[in-house]
């Protein structure tokens, strides 16, 4: 088990709008520290002189041409929505205007 404290589950939960009770928070803190500790083994590698890469696969410019195709049926796409308004909008709890991008 590592002593890694680089994660504050309470803060991450707040960013993710998750309300965690204390036992859950403690459990997740413990688990995530273990996960990060495992990944931290990578820090033991000497990567000096290796070009940083944004992607593991040596490919670039994978794109499609700008052609519009058919969309899905609305009724199909809304099947998984927890609630809908007038069968056309997905109903969500009221959110404060201005929090969006």
């Amino acid at each position: 088990m590592s002593n890694n404290t680089n994660i504050d589950v309470g803060y991450v939960a707040q960013l993710a709008r998750l309300d965690l009770d204390e036992p859950t928070r403690n459990r997740l803190q413990h688990d995530l520290e273990a996960i990060i500790g495992y990944i931290d083994q990578l820090n033991e590698l000497d990567v000096g002189g290796i070009e940083p890469t944004a992607h593991a696969v040596p490919l670039s410019n994978v794109w499609r041409e700008d052609v519009a195709g058919a969309s899905f049926e609305r009724s199909t796409m809304l099947q998984n929505a927890p609630a809908v308004i007038d069968d056309e909008l997905i109903k969500v709890p009221k959110v404060l205007p201005g929090e969006e991008m």
């Binding site: 992607h55 410019n61 519009a68 899905f72 796409m77 109903k91 969500v92 205007p97 991008m101």
Partner: protein
């Protein structure tokens, strides 16, 4: 009140005009029935794979080139984490440290929105990056409704340097940016359709101070005018607080256009922490010089270049050129007509004084205007050739605007051709002289201005159609004789 220097930077989101969305092939259209232009990709279903739209990448680079940006040879997409119902996959695909365009600039000059002269200067552009738009939220009382038609529409974010020093400069920068986007066919920039959206960063500092003051972010600005008003409101509000010795805190404020004031939305403590990381589902973009040059060759003529050409080739004043290049469609309209007529300056005058009035009165756009540039140019050549006079031209113009008919047809149908036949005008001249003995007396006593009175009488008798030069010649022959 102490005097402070205002420092303004703008973040402008511009939707790119494409046929399909950024990462899926749903149509990019505005105004469709809610949630009909959607698929698992743009609705953020788990496990879907995005595929970038080449045209959106090309147009972003074109926009960057038009703003004098550097186009780095290597660019990539990142995930921007945030939790809000307009983006159910809980991240937006955006670009963090390696955007498509870097270090550009936009020129501003001329008369500002408030009427004062602007400094002639460049506003730096930090970067332009490409991302996906998010869903539209409709706030309905106790709940909100989500429409995903907008989700996944290609969106550019243009970030300026903090180079603006007044509301007028911010307004001019936005106008110039919009013009460039429209000229380049990058976006229609219709703010009412959300195709262009603007956030303002504003701070005040005492003149001479090097460090920036506390930054306030303004959101919810739905027009350039709202930006102008909100900036001036904030200058007054922040000056007052600073004068009172208060310390400002970093915060985000909204703009209430009806009340004409800003309001607190969130403080720095509630600020976002986006936790960017590279998007593993998308490959990076590499651009060699050859490809960038190919894009460069596709660049259209920009408004500034067009203004210079209109002044040099068509003999317009800088003001005429400024008005005619406000919108690309108008500039193209003029350019098309100017190539057809021998009097391009006269054409400019008709467009600026008559056509623009007509459009604003009827609420039409130039592209929907019934008066084509071909017809207007033909009418001007008819004036030049003496086929109609300026007065009749006004009637012909009004008829063109309502019926869309060509001027020759209108003149023929309504019998509006100018009468330059002496045989037809002489009886009218003689009738006017016979009916106005006192004015004849005045003329002969040396009051030459009375000629204009007679011209008016003859024009009335001819129902506006007599050739005015011919009328004057015939009148003088008879009055002097």
């Amino acid at each position: 009140m102490a005097e402070y220097e205002v420092v303004i930077g703008l973040e402008v989101h511009v939707q790119i005009k494409t046929r399909s969305k950024m990462f899926c092939s749903c149509a990019n259209v505005f105004g469709a029935e809610p949630n009909t232009m959607v698929c698992p990709v743009c609705m953020g279903y788990p496990g879907v794979m995005p595929t970038p739209n080449h045209e959106a990448i090309r147009k972003t680079i074109m926009a960057g080139l038009m703003c004098d940006c550097d186009i780095p040879s290597y660019s990539k997409f990142d995930r921007k984490s945030y939790f809000y119902p307009d983006m159910p996959k809980n991240y937006q695909i955006s670009q963090y440290d390696l955007p498509l365009c870097l270090r550009g600039r936009i020129h501003i000059s001329g008369k500002g929105f408030s009427g004062e002269e602007l400094p002639d200067k460049y506003i730096g552009l930090t970067r332009i990056h490409l991302e996906e738009d998010v869903a539209k939220l409709n706030h309905l009382g106790r709940t909100s409704g989500v429409d995903f038609n907008r989700a996944g529409v290609p969106l550019m974010e243009c970030v300026s340097e903090p180079d603006m020093r007044s509301a007028d400069e911010a307004y001019a920068y936005l106008t110039a940016l919009k013009q460039i986007m429209q000229y380049g066919g990058i976006s229609d920039c219709d703010m009412e359709k959300g195709q262009m959206r603007c956030d303002v960063n504003i701070s005040l500092r005492p003149f001479g101070q090097k460090e920036f003051g506390t930054k306030i972010e303004l959101k919810n600005l739905n027009s350039f005018r709202a930006v102008h008003r909100a900036v001036n409101y904030e200058i007054a509000r922040q000056s007052e607080l600073l004068d009172a010795g208060e310390k400002l805190r970093q915060e985000t404020r909204g703009w209430n256009d009806d009340r004409g004031e800003t309001y607190l939305m969130r403080t720095k403590e509630q600020a976002h922490d986006y936790r960017y990381f590279p998007e593993p589902d998308l490959m990076p973009i590499t651009l060699d010089l050859k490809r960038v040059d190919e894009y460069r060759r596709q660049l259209p003529e920009l408004p500034e270049a067009m203004r210079r050409r209109f002044v040099a080739d068509y003999g317009l004043t800088p003001y005429d050129a400024q008005v005619l290049t406000m919108e690309k469609a108008l500039a193209e309209y003029y350019d098309c007509g100017a190539k057809l007529t021998k009097s391009p300056k006269t054409l400019a005058n008709w467009i600026i004084s008559d056509l623009l009035c007509e459009l604003s009165a009827s609420g039409q756009t130039i592209s929907a205007c019934p008066v084509t540039p071909e017809h207007l140019a033909a009418m001007i050549d008819m004036i030049d050739a003496g086929a109609i006079n300026n007065r009749i031209a006004k009637t012909v113009f009004a008829e063109m605007a309502s019926s869309g008919k060509p001027p020759r047809q209108i003149v023929a149908e309504k019998g509006l051709a100018q009468v330059s036949d002496e045989g037809a005008v002489i009886p009218l001249v003689e009738q006017a002289i016979a009916a106005n003995a006192p004015q004849v007396q005045q003329y002969r006593e040396g009051n030459e201005k009375v000629v204009q009175y007679f011209v008016g009488q003859v024009m009335k008798l001819s129902r506006g159609k007599a050739n005015p030069q011919l009328v004057i010649k015939l009148l003088k022959e008879r009055l002097d004789g």
